[in-house]
């Protein structure tokens, strides 16, 4: 043992890292947001314009990320794709988050029969093969983002609900919850104004890693051929479609793939940063 003590708390680097991680994550995410909002200005080409004379070209001055089999500019598609993928990550998380935290709050707070029914529902959804649900919903409603969001919302809420419920079970016995009851506050006020803000920290952190999962689920759905409608540029679809050229034209998959990974990285960093900030663990 070289160090006298192997239990260092957050040291100087630690405090910097805590803030630094969050800042770097937000910075990266901000970059993507700028790309998405400014796509019409930033993207050098029309993302869906085909050019038969420039098919499958490697990265060059003209097309810095190369072109795909239709001669579409990958860079422009990646930039426009930021719009869709950010939307996927955000909407795909927001609804599960809202539904989950609300249900989890109510179940955890009321306990008893409400909670028992709720927990069975959670068990059912947890045990239900996600893919069956996802594919069925997409089949029922037709492929596309709306179906994807609905499927995500139907399944995704469970994680949030479980997190929040567990927190609520603890928090509702906390003195400040009891204090709120003793002060004559209404249940709704106690649940949503006093307890939820304290219970939600874990969920907010989880939402960040969930955003990554949602992105990857979207990519998996694209791999099975049920992603967004062509010719829309979306990274998952681009990677999935580019699979055909993975050995001959690597740039078609590499750049959208890297974009997914980088966006995932940004979300993870924000999640880490928030976890440190809130003092919660995943």
């Amino acid at each position: 043992m070289s160090e006298p003590l192997a239990a260092p708390a957050l040291g100087r680097s630690g405090r910097f890292r805590r803030r630094g991680t969050l800042a770097a994550g937000v910075f990266l995410l901000g970059g993507f947001v700028v790309l998405a909002l400014g796509a019409p200005l930033i993207a050098p080409y029309d993302p869906i314009a085909q050019d038969a004379t420039a098919r499958l070209q490697g990265p060059s001055w003209l097309h810095s990320f190369g072109t795909d089999n239709f001669g579409r500019d990958i860079l422009s598609r990646v930039i426009w794709g930021a719009r869709i993928d950010l939307q996927i990550a955000i909407i795909g998380v927001i609804f599960p988050f809202l539904i989950g935290t609300t249900l989890g709050t109510v179940a955890g707070f009321f306990g008893g029969i409400v909670d028992a029914i709720f927990m069975r529902l959670v068990d059912i959804i947890l045990a239900f093969p996600f893919l069956v649900l996802m594919l069925s919903i997409i089949a029922i409603l037709g492929p596309g983002l709306a179906s994807f969001y609905i499927a995500m919302a139907l399944v995704g809420w469970v994680s949030y609900a479980r997190l929040v419920r567990a927190q609520m079970l603890v928090l509702k016995n906390h003195d400040y919850a009891v204090a709120a009851v003793s002060l004559g506050f209404s249940r709704t006020r106690i649940m949503f104004r006093h307890l939820l803000p304290n219970a939600a920290a874990g969920s907010v952190v989880f939402a960040m890693s969930d955003a990554v999962l949602v992105l990857l689920n979207g990519a998996a759905i694209s791999y099975l051929g049920l992603g967004v409608q062509p010719p829309v540029a979306e990274w998952g679809v681009m990677v999935a479609e580019g699979q055909a050229f993975v050995t001959t034209a690597w740039w078609i998959t590499l750049f959208p793939g890297l974009s997914i990974v980088t966006l995932a990285f940004a979300f993870s960093m924000i999640g880490d940063g928030l976890a440190d900030l809130f003092g919660v663990h995943e």
Binding site: Q50, A52, A139, G225, Q229, A244, F245, T247
Partner: protein
């Protein structure tokens, strides 16, 4: 000698020939079961199979087939009784998917152990070709009765070049050389394994890494790369596959012939060939596949002219045409075609909304007429054009392949061509049909494309005929 391993997209679903309509199944039946009459390597001629010879009565109603001395894989003799059993079963079994084309058979009889006599209700020109269809495989009556339908569908007793030793569902079908095959001398391989490798990339990598001898369904995009690999041979075998754009004739402006013609002119088929098939396809000018029986090579090919198309649409009062384009999810080719056509049609002022749905649902939507356009393809199962013609132009239950195309003259001609027994007259009739279909634009013919397979250099004679049959009995593994 040796065992040939073949990678394909999906595994078989059954070995009961009458219970499936999937190519994935049919293509293996040909290795396991023999048929009375075979289609040759070019896919244009019939040749003797289990039937050594056959005679057709002048009225075209009675077929007399003479069987050769053949044995089933269990060593028992193949007799006329087995043939009668197999053919009547197609027509009469409750679960048969193929009853319709065999309903024309009135009686099937074993006149002696080596002779089968079939009486038809009406003269049918394509009947011999139908007998060459893998679903008309000859099963062992005794084997079927002892094993029962379920077991038989798993480890059938056939009289083909190979016999199934094991079927690992979802993974592979393992075939061994059938020592009792009547042409056993012709077979060099000890066995064959049909292995399911769903991912195109993985399948190709398997062959490249030498872990599979051959792989079928080579994507167009991979051909050039595989051709560069000195260990591999890429086979581009002529096929009867023809891709087309279905048009729903009942939807608004699409009912007008001029609109459909305009769409044909707005589509640059050559660009589809270049982009989607990487140049390995060929622009189609008829619904009959190139090189197939009665193909009319001089049929009209409408030139690509978006300006003119735009004009025609305007003249027909359809200048702001918007089309609902149904796309089958998970099919790379179909999706790519859609993306390309969308852009091409846009040049002629047509707005195309792509609607991607999963395959079964696409089918439903097409049947329900819930679409404007959509790409589909057809590969012939039998060499006679009647089967496809009936489906596409014959006004049968399928509403002319879901297009709702309606032309009484065409309908009558299709029926007449089926019963016409004189080949020369039939050829003329089919030529006329091809012209009429083109004129009416029943659908838009897009392109013909080959079957593309890849094999290691040490594999010889790996060949697929235009109907999809693999001649594994000729394959040599060095």
């Amino acid at each position: 000698a040796g065992v040939l391993t073949i990678g394909r997209r999906e595994d078989s679903t059954t070995f009961d020939p009458i219970k499936t309509a999937q190519n994935i199944d049919l293509w293996v039946f040909a290795n396991v079961y023999d048929v009375l009459i075979r289609v040759d390597k070019t896919g244009t001629k019939l040749e003797p199979g289990l039937a050594e010879s056959w005679e057709v009565s002048p009225d075209g109603l009675t077929y007399t087939l003479k069987l050769r001395d053949a044995k089933f894989s269990d060593g028992s003799d193949l007799t006329a009784g087995d043939v009668v059993f197999s053919l009547t079963r197609i027509r009469d079994d409750k679960g048969s998917l193929w009853a319709d084309p065999f309903k024309v058979m009135d009686t099937v009889e074993a006149t002696d152990p080596k002779t089968v006599t079939i009486k038809l209700k009406q003269a049918t020109a394509p009947f011999l070709a139908t007998l060459a269809f893998p679903i008309a495989s000859v099963l062992s009556k005794k084997g079927f009765e002892t094993l029962g339908p379920e077991k038989y569908a798993e480890t059938p007793i056939g009289s083909g070049a190979f016999t199934i030793t094991e079927w690992r569902r979802g993974d592979r079908v393992i075939l061994a050389k059938n020592p009792h095959f009547w042409e056993a001398d012709r077979v060099s391989l000890d066995g064959v394994e049909w292995i399911s490798v769903p991912d195109d990339n993985t399948r190709m990598l398997n062959v490249q890494a030498g872990q599979l001898d051959t792989a079928i369904f080579v994507p167009f995009s991979r051909v050039a790369e595989l051709q560069k690999d000195s260990n591999l041979t890429v086979h581009l075998d002529p096929s009867t596959r023809e891709d087309h754009l279905l048009i729903n004739h009942e939807h608004g402006a699409l009912a007008k012939k001029e609109v459909r013609q305009a769409l044909d002119m707005a589509i640059d088929e050559q660009a589809v060939v270049d982009t989607v098939t990487f140049g390995y396809g060929e622009v189609a000018n008829s619904y009959v596949p190139k090189g197939a029986l009665y193909y009319y090579a001089d049929n009209l090919k409408r030139p690509y002219d978006p300006e003119k198309a735009k004009q025609m649409l305007a003249d027909a009062g359809a200048s702001d045409l918007t089309l609902n384009y149904v796309v089958r999810a998970g099919d790379e080719i179909v999706e790519q075609t859609a993306v390309l056509l969308q852009q091409q049609l846009a040049k002629a002022g047509v707005t195309v909304n792509i609607q991607k749905v999963d395959p079964s649902q696409e089918w439903d939507m097409l049947v329900a007429g819930d679409y404007d356009v959509g790409v589909n393809y057809w590969t012939n199962d039998i060499l006679d054009p009647d089967q496809k013609t009936t489906f596409v132009l014959g006004h049968d239950a399928n509403m002319n392949y879901m297009t709702r195309y309606n032309n009484e003259k065409v309908k009558e001609l299709v029926a007449a061509a089926r019963t016409e027994m004189d080949p020369a007259k039939r050829e003329q009739m089919y030529t006329d049909l091809q012209k009429m279909a083109k004129e009416d634009v029943n659908w838009i013919d897009l392109y013909y494309s080959p079957f593309i397979n890849v094999s290691r250099k040490n594999i010889e004679n790996f060949y697929q005929n235009p109907l999809g049959r693999f001649f594994l009995e000729d394959v040599v593994k060095n």
